[in-house]
Symmetry: C2
Amino acid sequence: MAVLERTPGVLRAMLAGLPSQWTDATEGPDTWSPYVIVGHMIHGERADWVVRARTVVEQGESRAFKPFDRFAQFRESEGKSLAQLLDEFEELRVQNLRTAKSWELSEAQLALVGEHPAFGAVTLRQLLATWTAHDLGHIAQIARVMAKQYAQAVGPWREYLPVMDR
Amino acid sequence: MAVLERTPGVLRAMLAGLPSQWTDATEGPDTWSPYVIVGHMIHGERADWVVRARTVVEQGESRAFKPFDRFAQFRESEGKSLAQLLDEFEELRVQNLRTAKSWELSEAQLALVGEHPAFGAVTLRQLLATWTAHDLGHIAQIARVMAKQYAQAVGPWREYLPVMDR
């Protein structure tokens, strides 16, 4: 929770007001810019983490998760500024954490199982840990994408900057 | 500059008030925690970037850079809380950016050369680009170190989280 609640502020601190040379930059064809990544994280708030967690918590007839659309952001972010996306992400995250906290999950509930489309049985505990690690992975990705824009500009220092070749 | 001036806020958004299980976590023996990384970045503000840039800008007798101590933080951070380090980094960064801006560097000045202890001739432009990329590399590292704390907890999702194996 301590990590999940910080993410909207982290994205804002990194990206709000930053020139688009940075926020639209990628690592090459078919890789994502910071702008695309924020859109992807918004889709996760709408369609993945808490939606799937609810399926597990409620233990209804079907505990199967809907497949997650990894390309939804190319459609859903259309026409939106990065500032709008940062606001949207924050609102959804605050709402989702409120929902998750309201469940007051017990150890027994954290061990309940849902059905992942690829992996099969996964626990609620694994789902919530993945929500957190997914945030951190994309924060690392945003910083890496930005760093790579200077891969040439740093000259010989590249040798000391492993981020350039990750 | 747009990136450099955001870094203190990014570190604060990621780390301020976060439990020490996260801020003292590492990737294993002889790897750095977020706490250690912030100390290293402070030493960079004190002894590296603007100090070296000044050597180049002033074009005095010697343009040789002093070697950078990559372990200074283990000595210099001693007894300090992470909150203190975050404040210290911010103060030093604000001051250093004020200095760098005051030079009102021209294209000609950016092409001036200093002497790196390992690489030999490097330009001021390369030094300033490296200052920026170095920030981003360490932000990515902090997020990665944190993500890895959940390498086991995410269960089968690990396969979808490349950050766990970088």
